[in-house]
């Protein structure tokens, strides 16, 4: 057994950390998000090989493993990075690599890997669970070929993407994946930001024509893999965010004085911090263990649900504790604390929240 990152992973993490410390500190991020600063972060990520990393080698990527994705995503979470690595590469790019290499697909993958093209995964329809059983978007045979009709919500990076990967049901109710250029006729995009500042979009597909070569029929397994990637990467982001909250709150409690002594010396605060540390240790252990399981191809959907549920539940506990211990200042937009809370809450809401995954676990485990 070995749950440490490899030397290569550690090196990559070190250089990514350095870059983000310099270029994506909280104030820089604030300016970037307010549109007050040009961000060259994406191209730096391309240059560092991080954008190509999650893609298979056969597609020009670096063949990144689950733990590679975790290694990077955890640092994204620490820095609240909202660059579209997740929607474009980890989700869309990796999923397209499972398509038959025909039509526009290979080109899309290549362009995603170079960072020139951005993809987005249009899947959510409102249930919040990610479960394919909730799909109602239709992929049907039109007069001049296949078309898609339906509406998707909260599509990460959906407003900036050049190619959209869409989940849909065929006329025989089979789960399919299909990809279309974002500027295809009949696509209507409503852009907004999620709670944590991530650019997202609601997207309507009004009988949009689809290139038959850009369809994967019988995509259950591919969708399951996609969702596992999404949940694993998001969980890693959440654990990264928790680490920062843990560290900054412990520091704050050690220096902030009230009643003539550091507030961390009050047992009520000290014990809450202890509980936060317990929560953090559990969440991070599950992240690393399940990343290792995924590396060996043995992470079940139950394992992924455990991870997603734990980071949702434990992340909320840590973030709410961090706000409470910071007091009034923790309630402001000016301090990072609240942004981490919102990041963790947003992650919890994506691809199945705590409650959903706990029930999934219980369902599987009770009958096992």
């Amino acid at each position: 057994m070995n749950f440490e990152f490899s030397d290569e992973q550690v090196m990559l993490r070190d250089s990514l950390s350095r870059m983000l410390d310099q270029r994506y500190a909280f104030e820089s991020r604030r300016r970037i998000m307010a549109g007050q600063a040009e961000t060259g972060i994406w191209s730096e990520l391309v240059d560092m090989g991080i954008v190509a990393m999650p893609l298979p080698e056969a597609c020009g990527g670096l063949g990144g493993s689950a733990s590679d994705i975790v290694a990077i995503s955890e640092l994204f979470g620490r820095h609240l990075v909202i660059e579209p690595l997740l929607p474009s590469v980890i989700l869309t790019g990796r999923a397209l690599a499972r398509f038959d290499p025909a039509g526009p697909v290979p080109r899309w993958i290549a362009d995603i890997g170079t960072g020139a093209l951005r993809g987005a995964f249009a899947h959510e329809e409102g249930s919040g669970t990610g479960a394919s059983s909730t799909l109602s978007t239709k992929l049907y045979e039109g007069e001049a070929g296949p078309r898609i009709r339906g509406s998707k919500k909260l599509v990460l990076g959906g407003g900036e993407a050049g190619v959209l990967l869409i989940s849909a049901l065929s006329e025989t109710k089979a789960v399919c994946l299909a990809a279309v250029p974002a500027d295809a006729e009949g696509i209507e995009v409503r852009r907004y930001r999620a709670l944590d500042g991530r650019p997202v979009a609601d997207i309507l597909f009004h009988d949009v024509a689809v290139d038959r070569a850009a369809i994967m029929a019988g995509a259950d397994a591919a969708l399951e893999a996609l969702l596992a990637d999404a949940r694993l990467a998001l969980a890693a982001e959440a654990v990264g965010a928790m680490a920062v909250l843990m560290a900054t709150t412990a520091d704050f409690a050690g220096t902030r004085e009230q009643f003539g002594r550091p507030i961390g010396s009050f047992q009520a605060i000290a014990h809450r911090l202890a509980d936060m540390k317990i929560a953090y240790v559990k969440a991070r252990a599950s992240l690393l263990y399940i990343a290792a399981l995924a590396d060996s191809g043995r992470a079940t959907s139950r394992d992924i649900s455990v991870l997603k549920a734990q980071v949702g539940r434990l992340g909320r506990e840590i973030a709410q504790g961090a706000v409470q211990i910071h007091g009034g200042i923790g309630m402001t937009d000016e301090l990072p604390v609240g942004h981490y809370l919102k990041h963790i809450l947003t992650i919890d809401g994506l691809f199945g929240n705590t409650d959903y995954h706990l029930r999934e676990i219980g369902r599987v485990v009770a009958s096992a």
Binding site: E124, G126, S127, G128, T129, K153, L154, R190, Y192, R193, A194, L195, G197, V200, D202, E257, Q258, F259, G260, I263, F266, A268, I269, Q320, V323, Q324, G327, G328, G330, M331, T332, D333, E334, G338, L341, K342, L345, T346, G349, L350, G352, N353, D355, Y356, R359
Partner: protein, 403 residues
Amino acid sequence: MNVDFDPSLEAFREEVCAFLDTAPTDAIREAGRKTTSVFAPFEATMEWHRLLYARGWAAPAWPVEYGGTGWSLEQRYIFSEEHWKRDLPPLLPNGLIMVGPLLMELGTPEQKRQHLPGILSGKDYWTQGYSEPSAGSDLAALSCSALADGDDYIINGQKTWTTLAHKANKMFMLVRTNRDGKKQQGITFLLLDRTDYPGMHIRPIIGLDGVAEQCEVFFDNVRVPQAGRVGAENEGWSVAKALLKHERGGAAHSPAIRRKLDAIRAAARDATASFGGPLSEDPVFQRDLGELEAEVASFEHVEKLVLSGHALADDPAMPSLNKVMSSELSQLLSIMMTRVAGIDALPLQLEALEVGSGVQPLGDPFSLVAMPYYLNTRAASIYAGSNEVQRDLISRNLQTVRA
């Protein structure tokens, strides 16, 4: 035992309902629906204040001699219940519940004459200048200073968490007038009849929910009249304690909390459960709702016992008990709201939240307010004496009432 309000109050209830059903403007109703904080949207709420004033109902808790309604506790509970049932914005508390009653108790005749009418009518809004960056839970550590100079004080320093200071035209505050002795000594309570004195600078603070509700106020040699002092110099701590008594002895919280639970129940009937079907029929939701309902019911029972004058009302820990119960129930309800809203709670919709913006929300009105309310309500366990401080106080009064 008798569980009923005085039956004669049913006519009163009808009178209240008739007014509340007809008087509020659309903007006021919109403000009520978009209330995501203890502090309802300012302009429309002040408009509602003035309408209630015109009806004679702006100050249910004030005695008649000061223009109050003279209502009994039961009448006030009924009014509050009906007010909340209609999702109307609660009047802003600082004048009516805090500084007004304080002046009635401790103000000079001149201070009463000068300030009470504007509080009652809704002409004036008062902000509270208590906390400072280094004096939060430990309020007595405050250092913003006032130096006597002729008939004036000269104020230097900083206040923070001055709610709605950027909207207020009046301010009450605690200043340090003496640094010797215990830190609770040497504090003075001041009324500022303007918030635009030369040298005063107000900076709004954006909150977690994206709204500027709190402010910082900076004082740079601000000269204000000593006539605004309430009580003696250096005795402001006891004035503040008197004010706290009014703040905490105020209105019941359970009607507001009950209303949130009702909104959750209604929304759950329209929402879909993770595993299909209406959320309201989902067993897991039902269990969690059942627990919330039980907790809300117990809180109502506590408040009704207090209202009835049961011995529980005399428990010295009751203000702290009520504060912890109501703030933590609000937080639980806010979490349940985001849960019912599901992913519709995730869009950031600051414009749609503004009263009169005309911007359609992405989801339904319930989902629009769920997350801002959750975020804002994180403060409920921090402000007005953090819940850690309240639990300290409760732990000093552990005896239980036998009667």
